[in-house]
């Protein structure tokens, strides 16, 4: 399909058009960029590197009601995800979109997660190619992605200066493109986009050779490396909550004293000590060492061994935001050396 053009002065109009759906775009809260539902195009902040919290929360909310109930009453009122309607996530970075397609495999694996899947099906991803790497710690190209990766996206936008090149990649994308027919123009330069893509790849500064890592990690179970790389870990959830591929959740019943309640699921983090805490008080991952080992193993060994994809898209958030400069590439290098 031909590449279209979205003139920058028509972006507002396009967003207005899209707000007939549930429109999600990057927005600022003080100096922090987060994806959120917007009603006014002016709220969208498109001149951004990447959001602090990945847009995974739009399809996998941090807190999500599964069903409501009344104590003693067998009737359950299940959440109808469809009520949320069609969602357009505008401006998602290719790595975050790729992360969704990686996580999709998990939610469709041994159990088809209806909440996730319905929401995913209702979501159209309009990506924004990274002409410049959003951060010095981006390493998407080492883990199968790229600044212009189309994986998981329905539309890819590329900033061409005074317009965005618009490429519809899926049927969903084409449909959305039709919705925007009065804002889009013909004449996008596909060749230039490809040139820019190649240039962008060259701008990614950090890298790791992942070959052999998935196989090596299981052999390091008792290695000292884990103790070493986790010594400074605080056990907070920054790296996992802000990771676009982390998908662990906990299920809690929230019951009012009068018996009304809901079952909800909420993000959990394998870096928390309670994550594996048994009711007995026993904790099979008693220290930060085991938890760090699990985080790295899950991303770089268990997941690729099961689903072929490394559960890391190289967005660099965990490196940028770790309070104590625990650097996943540094860890991987030590794993390789160990």
């Amino acid at each position: 399909m031909a590449v279209k053009k979205l003139s920058k002065d028509k972006v507002g109009e396009a967003l207005k058009e899209l707000s007939k759906f549930r429109l999600v775009a990057p927005a600022r809260s003080d100096d922090v960029v987060i994806f959120k539902e917007i009603s006014d195009p002016a709220e969208a902040y498109l001149d951004y590197g990447n959001s602090t919290v990945p847009p995974k929360k739009m399809v996998f909310p941090q807190t999500e009601t599964l069903f409501r109930f009344m104590v003693g009453d067998p009737e359950l009122k299940e959440k109808n995800v469809e009520e949320e309607g069609t969602t357009v996530i505008f401006g998602i970075r290719p790595c975050d979109a790729r992360a969704m397609s990686i996580v999709d495999k998990l939610f469709a694996w041994d159990y088809d997660d209806p909440y996730y899947q319905k929401r995913r099906a209702l979501t159209t991803l309009v990506g924004m190619a990274c002409t410049e790497p959003p951060s010095v710690n981006c390493f998407c190209t080492s883990v199968g992605g790229s600044p212009f990766s189309k994986e998981g996206l329905d539309i890819l936008l590329t900033d061409m200066g005074d317009y965005y090149a618009v490429q519809a990649l899926t049927e969903k994308g084409e449909n959305l493109q039709k919705t925007l027919s009065s804002q889009l123009e013909d004449g996008g330069d596909e060749k230039k986009v490809e040139e820019m893509a190649r240039a962008a790849e060259g701008k990614i500064k950090r890298s790791i050779k992942t070959d052999g890592i998935p196989e090596k990690i299981p052999t390091l179970w008792d290695s000292d490396v884990w103790k070493k790389v986790s010594a400074s870990c605080l056990g907070c959830g920054t790296c996992t909550f802000l990771c676009p591929t982390c998908h662990c959740f906990d299920i809690q019943d929230e019951v009012e004293e009068l018996g009304e309640g809901r079952r909800a699921r909420m993000w959990d983090s394998c870096m928390f000590s309670e994550y594996t805490l048994h009711a007995s008080g026993h904790n099979p991952r008693p220290s930060r060492k085991e938890r760090t080992r699990n985080r790295i193993s899950h991303k770089y060994s268990y997941y690729p061994n099961k689903f072929d994809d490394i559960a890391c898209v190289g967005c660099g958030r965990c490196i940028n935001l770790c309070p104590v400069n625990i650097d996943i590439l540094d860890i991987l290098e030590q794993v390789v050396e160990a």
């Binding site: 003080d30 010594a231 907070c236 959830g237 920054t238 802000l242 809690q252 929230e254």
Partner: protein, 327 residues
């Protein structure tokens, strides 16, 4: 200025002692200007140790953070000392921990670093974006000297200095076994102007302000985990029974969490500012802690972390405590 060779020499001496298990210090970070904690177990490891204005972490946290894993039957826990490098602000955490009987003084070997201030890494990154190569930051007089990639730039101290340093009253550690540099005289005072500005707002404005900030919170608990004063075995705010607040992440539960967290630090927070530094969502957490800090000073003339023999603020009272608010 800390002489790096002297620092390493002392660290080497310390780690070579039979009664010392590890030395906690700083080493260069993995990229850019960052520094990170170092855990020295062997004499050879000391060569990576540094101290620069990039050494922002409060290492006192690690004294209480380390898990006390079950000791195999028939064995005794390793009771060797832990040596730790602390700046003035960080040392107050040790004082407060000791006031709270977290451990005995003999448990520690304190290497005090008189400090003229550390940088706010966000300010550095804003000024020098996209620096991947390892750079260096040094403080020379009233300027930070930033070197990276073969270039060297000078920036006025005030522009990059962490806010907490601008009101630091204790640049020289209050407790130490050995100082790694000459004492630094107090160069700043705290006028609480940040808190007073907020206090003057209307109630609606105050809530609007906090609602925006607190609704961003993801409850990653970095602020709690990094805090040297938050060292309960099992944080009461995380418990299911009794449930002080839900795990749900929304502005109501987030606010409850932040109120409770700040209250638990009333009379205990020593102003190291780590909570705010680590917050990925840029929540001005110190503005919460500092409200308590200010009131505790104003109302009860109490400054946490300055006297290991003091009684905990909220476990004491004076018959003459203010009560003009009581009906």
């Amino acid at each position: 200025m800390v002489d790096i060779n002297k620092l390493r020499e002392i660290a080497k001496e310390v780690i070579s002692r039979d009664d010392v298990r590890q030395v906690i210090g700083y080493r260069p970070g993995t990229y850019g200007f960052r520094a990170r904690p170092a855990f020295v177990l062997e004499p050879d490891d000391v060569d990576e140790l540094i101290f620069t204005p990039a050494c922002v972490n409060n290492l006192a946290t690690y004294i209480t953070l380390e898990e006390k894993l079950p000791v195999p039957r028939g064995q005794e826990p390793d009771s060797r000392k832990v040596a730790v490098m602390v700046k003035g602000c960080d040392s107050r955490a040790l004082v407060q921990q000791m006031e709270e009987k977290a451990y005995d003084r003999e448990h520690l070997l304190i290497l005090g670093i008189p400090c003229r201030g550390v940088v706010d890494m966000d300010k550095v990154n804003a000024r020098f974006p996209d620096v991947l190569e390892k750079g260096e930051i040094a403080l020379e007089g009233d300027k930070f000297v930033i070197s990276f990639n073969g270039t060297k730039e000078e920036v006025a101290k005030d522009e990059l200095l962490a806010d907490k340093c601008k009101r630091c009253r204790y640049p020289t550690p209050l407790v130490s076994d050995q100082l790694l540099d000459d004492e630094v005289e107090r160069f700043a005072e705290d006028d609480y102007s940040d808190i007073e500005t907020l206090e003057k707002r209307s109630q609606d404005e105050k809530w609007a302000y906090w609602e925006e900030k607190l609704s961003r919170c993801t409850r990653c608990y970095a602020c709690r985990n990094v805090c040297p004063m938050c060292y309960c075995e099992d944080c009461v705010l995380n418990r299911i029974e009794p449930m002080w607040m839900r795990r749900s992440v929304d502005v109501s539960e987030n606010t409850a969490y932040h109120i409770a967290r700040a209250y638990h630090l009333a009379g205990r927070c020593i102003q190291c500012g780590e909570c705010q530094r680590v917050c990925p969502m840029d929540i001005p957490i110190m503005e919460l802690n500092r409200k308590f800090y200010k009131d505790v000073a104003d109302l009860y003339d109490y400054e946490p972390g300055t006297d290991a023999e003091a009684s905990p603020l909220l476990s004491t009272f004076s018959v003459d405590d203010r009560e003009d608010f009581i009906l």
